[in-house]
Symmetry: C2
Subunit: 335 residues, 2 copies
């Protein structure tokens, strides 16, 4: 553990919304190791990354409130001495957001509004870091995509995340809230959802490879991505929990890019699997919200904080596959 993290977080109280989920649980572990007192709020939304297996070994060391963010009667009592708010709770599925827009907006926009209001009253000085998404940019007009790229949310999920970013902006300007938004690219690692593609296609691929099932690639598989390993993302959250960065919005991702065809081959090789890689036409409903190639520009966060992704893709994938080789059952049962 980074020594500066111990200094920053030891004895401090961190709230993690969505802390049973993929990134949230990894963050909970890292903050606990840095000596923070961690409280998680998670409603275990169906189809989200919430999974008790994500907190294995941390039982008893973390307070877990199983509640919807809008249930402020349950949440407010623990907020009084909160120093950091890591807001990751969300409905994450892009297709789900198109099938049920109100459910997505209720969880992501109204949920954020509820947490903001509760914290404004109970812990107005807390430092927020919000899990936003590169999805806000829509199909890139040019690569790499920096934070100044115009926003064009391609699906309801991205609209809800934009709405949440803007709510943070209002609370910063009106109430002096301290917040940073991180626009994450595809994040992978232990704890990610593998039962389906609701967090990202790579989870589903890993789940399939480990069961010798085919990996399905949409289109020609030449779409480029810049996947980032969860440990790097967790570090970005911890680095950005800093009042000096108040009001900033940063892209978070890796310099290393790969096309999906090559990624599928890599997953198959690292999984030592006899899975086939299948190419099928893009389903029309997915194509309609697909953003094509995405490569982010990560100079802004590096210039402001020194942070950059450090885990090579092959190493991160090896770690991830090893994790699921041992833990697959607990993730296939996820609701």
């Amino acid at each position: 553990m980074n020594e500066s993290f111990t200094e920053k977080f030891r004895g401090r109280h961190a709230l993690i919304s969505g802390g049973l989920g993929f990134i949230g649980s990894n963050l909970a572990r890292a903050l606990t190791e840095a000596g923070a007192r961690v409280t998680i709020v998670d409603c275990e939304l169906d189809g989200s990354g919430a999974n008790s297996a994500n907190l294995a070994g941390l039982e008893g060391r973390i307070e877990l409130i199983r509640a919807d963010l809008r249930d402020t009667g349950r949440i407010s009592p623990v907020l009084g001495d909160v120093n950091f708010v890591f807001h990751l709770a969300a409905q994450t599925g892009h297709m789900d957001s198109m099938r049920d827009p109100q459910r997505d907006l209720t969880n992501n926009a109204l949920g954020t509004a509820a947490l903001l209001d509760a914290c404004r009253n109970s812990c107005p000085r807390a430092m927020w870091v919000f899990a936003s998404t590169r999805q806000l940019y829509g199909p890139p007009r040019a690569l790499p995509v920096a934070e100044e790229h115009p926003l064009q949310p391609p699906d309801v999920n991205a609209v809800g995340k934009l709405c949440a970013e803007e709510l943070l902006g209002v609370y910063m300007r009106v109430y002096g809230l301290n917040a940073v938004s991180l626009r994450l690219t595809n994040t992978y690692g232990p704890g990610m959802r593998v039962r389906d593609a609701r967090q990202m296609f790579l989870g589903l691929w890993i789940g399939n490879v480990l069961r010798s099932r085919p990996i399905t690639v949409y289109g020609d598989g030449l779409q480029r991505r810049d996947l980032v390993f969860v440990d790097d993302v967790v570090e970005a959250f911890m680095v950005c929990a800093d009042e000096k960065l108040r009001g900033r919005t940063f892209n978070v991702g890796s310099q290393e890019t790969i096309d999906l065809r090559s990624l599928a081959e890599l997953v198959r090789r690292l999984g030592a699997s006899d899975s086939r890689v299948e190419f099928i036409d893009f389903p029309a409903d997915r194509k309609a919200i697909d953003i094509g190639d995405y490569v982010g520009d990560y100079n802004s966060i590096r210039a402001a904080t020194g942070w950059q992704a450090r885990t090579p893709l092959e190493r991160g994938l090896t770690t991830t596959i090893a994790y699921y080789r041992a833990q697959l059952a607990a993730y296939l049962e996820q609701s």
Copy 2:
């Protein structure tokens, strides 16, 4: 009535959400006069502009569904043959949106999502015109403000309206919806809320002048505005209900500007009132979301459609004050 409107709307079916409200009811009247069949959906939200008095004389000529937009079971059955959707239903109060963010987002963001989804299924070819707001720009960086001005919603109400605009964008790109968004500046005229400042301060001023109560101006009253008369706004909605304008966003307002101090004097003079004009310090909670001077650039809608505001402020105010001289009671009782 403009002849081209008769040609465009006669025998066509127009849905107006928020049609009991200020602008919606004026639009309902104009569409009915142009020969359209009008259906209104309105849930008479407390604090909104909804008022049965707004439809005086139209009883029996318009179908009125008293329902929340999210009650799609009530709304969907009438959508089948809808040709035009004028979406104006909203929680409009800026201060209210800060006091109860979830209520604002529920009505404005979720309500829009619900209506979009119902229409996608029942009248996918309908032409939409959405009542958005110049509030999206936040405090102007320079005047006049054109549509390219960066967006920085200063309050939760503006966040909800931005969310609604973005939802329309998603439905256009994914489902081929036809829609235009109109970013309205302060609109005034018969039918506006005068019991309080929930629609705009001018309504409250008129209500006060007609009862010889003081008019209260915040700050020095030198803030500039470009108020637009409701008949002009109604015409903009009708002109913009045109598939050729699909995907466009237009500012809607008047070329005529005035500072609030002068406006207060004008209202007092036209009201032939002995009301005093009082200047008080900006209340802190209002100052926090105030946008300062606002003057819009209306070249874009004029270039695309020929529309421009035609009612001089003094004439529009005279009409408005005469209306409330006769009708004040029905508007002071509004919930």
